[in-house]
């Protein structure tokens, strides 16, 4: 394989993996700490992407801001949405069986998809790449690589570093880690578990929406984009071990590389590769790479 092509594929794999990590890290936190199998997580990714599409003209008109302001608006609104959803729907389900939660989050997927279809329609829309990131860099003599994709990777890495810092160095992070390894214990230690749940859920929603918003200029926005990302994120969470951010990061990179290079080397079996990887890992490590608690 030509080294330039190889490099491009590696960059693609890293970018895909990092995006997956953003979505999956929220999922694994919600899963590990709140014990909720949140099928609606893919919808939050979709909502982020559609907000980036719908808010861009509004932001330009009223706030005079560009892409960065739009993305910040998306994250802010998504955080509020997460806070509201946890209060209105999820908080009633903690005492129920897991599968009841699955049923409700499935209902939420349907509602979100249909609201999207009513509000924006079913067409595929492109989201423009901001002009200051529209160029491309040269790789070798003939190959080029778009700057915007590098920008995505950069943003994801910054968010990942921020997340590790919060988890390792702050009081909130300490509570989250404690919650992931033993929920009952931190409740009995006097930490307000309901508040913690609400914060964790809002963070998870915000991360998924951020991923959707910055991916929108590359992937464009289309119906069903949430479901496509949902299953692959569950694969990432399970490979990494539930509740483990470190595991989610490694698993996301692994899935990114396997999927990207699977499409290059075995185009006929590209879809199966990721699932083969998951089955193989779970057969040797039945609880994922890094299980918490």
């Amino acid at each position: 394989m030509d080294p330039a092509i190889f490099l491009i594929q590696c960059l693609n794999a890293v970018q895909y993996g990092l995006l997956l990590f953003l979505v999956a890290s929220g999922l694994t936190l919600i899963f590990g700490i709140m014990g909720i199998i949140n099928l609606a997580h893919g919808s939050f990714y979709m909502i982020g992407a559609y907000m980036a599409f719908a808010l861009q003209p509004l932001v330009a008109q009223y706030l005079g801001g560009g892409f960065v302001v739009t993305v910040l608006m998306c994250v802010l609104l998504a955080t509020l949405l997460g806070y509201f959803l946890e209060w209105a729907f999820y908080s009633y389900l903690y005492t129920r069986e897991h599968l009841q939660q699955v049923l409700m989050t499935y209902g939420l997927i349907l509602v979100f998809e249909e609201l999207r279809s009513i509000l924006v329609g079913n067409d595929v829309h492109g989201v423009p790449v901001p002009s200051w990131l529209a160029g491309s860099v040269n790789l070798g003599d003939v190959m080029t690589y778009p700057v915007y994709r590098l920008f995505i990777s950069l943003v994801c890495i910054l968010v990942a570093i921020l997340m590790f810092w919060v988890l390792r160095r702050t009081r909130l992070g300490m509570m989250i880690r404690a919650g992931a390894s033993n929920r009952e214990m931190i409740n009995s230690l006097g930490i307000d578990i309901n508040r913690l749940f609400r914060i964790v859920f809002a963070i998870g929603v915000a991360l998924a929406a951020l991923a959707g918003a910055i991916a929108a200029p590359v992937s464009s926005v289309y119906p069903g984009m949430g479901n496509a990302v949902l299953i692959i994120c569950f694969v990432v969470v399970v490979i990494g071990g539930i509740g483990s951010i470190k595991g989610a990061f490694l698993a996301a990179m692994l899935v990114g590389f396997v999927d990207t290079f699977g499409q290059v080397f075995f185009p006929a079996a590209a879809g199966v590769m990721v699932y083969l990887l998951m089955a193989a890992i779970l057969l040797f490590k039945p609880e994922g790479l890094f299980k918490q608690g």
């Binding site: 049923l103 509602v111 590209a270 699932y275 083969l276 057969l283």
Partner: protein, 332 residues
């Protein structure tokens, strides 16, 4: 007296079942057959989820494999023999269940859910990406299988009434089989595994073998449903094996109520009817286009008011009445 009442009830039911096709239009008949097929599919999953505690999100694979088996092995020129196709389809589903189940049962809980999903996705991509079953376009089944002994055609299910009775018979026989299974020593062992697997192992049961057997049986019955589905529509495509299909049948089991066989049937009826009602232009007018919204809200509302599913409703009422009658007494 009681016996006569019961006998009359059964006779009325039988009469109703036989009279139904002549009352109902062909649209409703086809809807009823669809509900029965999904009820059978949900029953087979209930054995795993509700009775054994194995939550599988890959159940559609077995449904789809059986449907593809029938479609691919029916000759182009005439009807295939059901005597070979039905057991063949079920055995194909069971064979895949045996291999994947033996591997998947090494894991537990959410990991089990994901591994079953992974194996179902593998089967999905086999039909989706290879030309074996016509790829994403799917393939048509032009002739419904018939039951033949030599040259003698014993049963032909081309007629919509015969197909209806045949589906009903499959549903009732499978239901009876599962009900007897759950009453047997084997079924008691499965219940024990669901409640406390550790303890069952301590009591000397080799739980892995029990779970694997239950898994293979459940998947075989899903194969029967898949066979009927292919025969009903005469068309199969890879979406039969998609995770959305597994999700839907899991929802039927959860909504209906876990652990009770008839819960699965109730759930299948309720979900299919809800879909039909919210999609009906006649009832909801233009809003029927956005039926996902009402369907989703209905699901959320049902979860909120039915913690034990539809089948748990009588128990829920009884408990509420008991708590109402107790509280004033204790206050005195």
């Amino acid at each position: 007296m009681r016996f006569f009442l019961r006998a009359i009830l059964v006779l009325v039911l039988i009469a109703l079942v036989l009279a139904l096709p002549s009352i109902a239009s062909s649209y409703y008949l086809s809807l009823i057959v669809k509900i029965m097929i999904y009820a059978l599919f949900a029953l087979s999953l209930q054995l795993l989820v509700g009775c054994t505690g194995l939550v599988s999100l890959g159940h559609s694979a077995f449904f789809g494999i059986a449907a593809y088996f029938v479609t691919l092995l029916t000759p182009q020129t005439g009807a295939g023999n059901m005597l070979l196709l039905l057991p063949g389809a079920v055995l194909a589903a069971m064979a895949y269940a045996l291999v994947t189940g033996a591997l998947a049962l090494r894991t537990k809980g959410i990991y089990f859910i994901m591994v079953t999903l992974a194996f179902a996705q593998m089967a999905y991509y086999v039909f989706h990406d290879t030309p074996l079953g016509g790829g994403t376009d799917g393939i048509y089944l032009y002739f419904r299988p018939e039951l033949r002994l030599g040259d003698w055609v014993v049963l032909n299910i081309d007629n919509s009434f015969t197909f209806y009775v045949f589906t009903l018979a499959c549903l009732l026989l499978s239901w009876l089989f599962l009900a007897l299974l759950m009453r047997s020593r084997f079924g008691a062992a499965l219940t024990g595994i669901r409640v406390n697997e550790q303890r069952m192992r301590a009591a000397g049961f080799s739980t892995f073998k029990y779970k694997l057997t239950a898994y293979v049986i459940g998947c075989g019955i899903a194969g029967v449903a898949g066979f009927l589905y292919a025969a009903k529509d005469g068309y199969v495509n890879p979406e039969l094996l998609a995770w959305e299909q597994s999700g839907l049948v899991l929802l039927m089991v959860i909504l209906g109520g876990m652990g009770r066989l008839w819960g699965a049937v109730l759930g299948a009826i309720a979900l299919t009817l809800l879909q039909e009602v919210f999609q009906s232009q006649a009832l909801l007018g233009d809003f029927a286009k956005n039926w996902h919204l009402t369907f989703g809200l209905a699901i959320i509302a049902l979860v909120a008011v039915l913690p034990q599913g539809l089948a748990g409703l009588p128990e829920q009422w009884r408990e509420r009445r008991r708590s109402k009658s107790i509280s004033p007494a204790s206050a005195q």
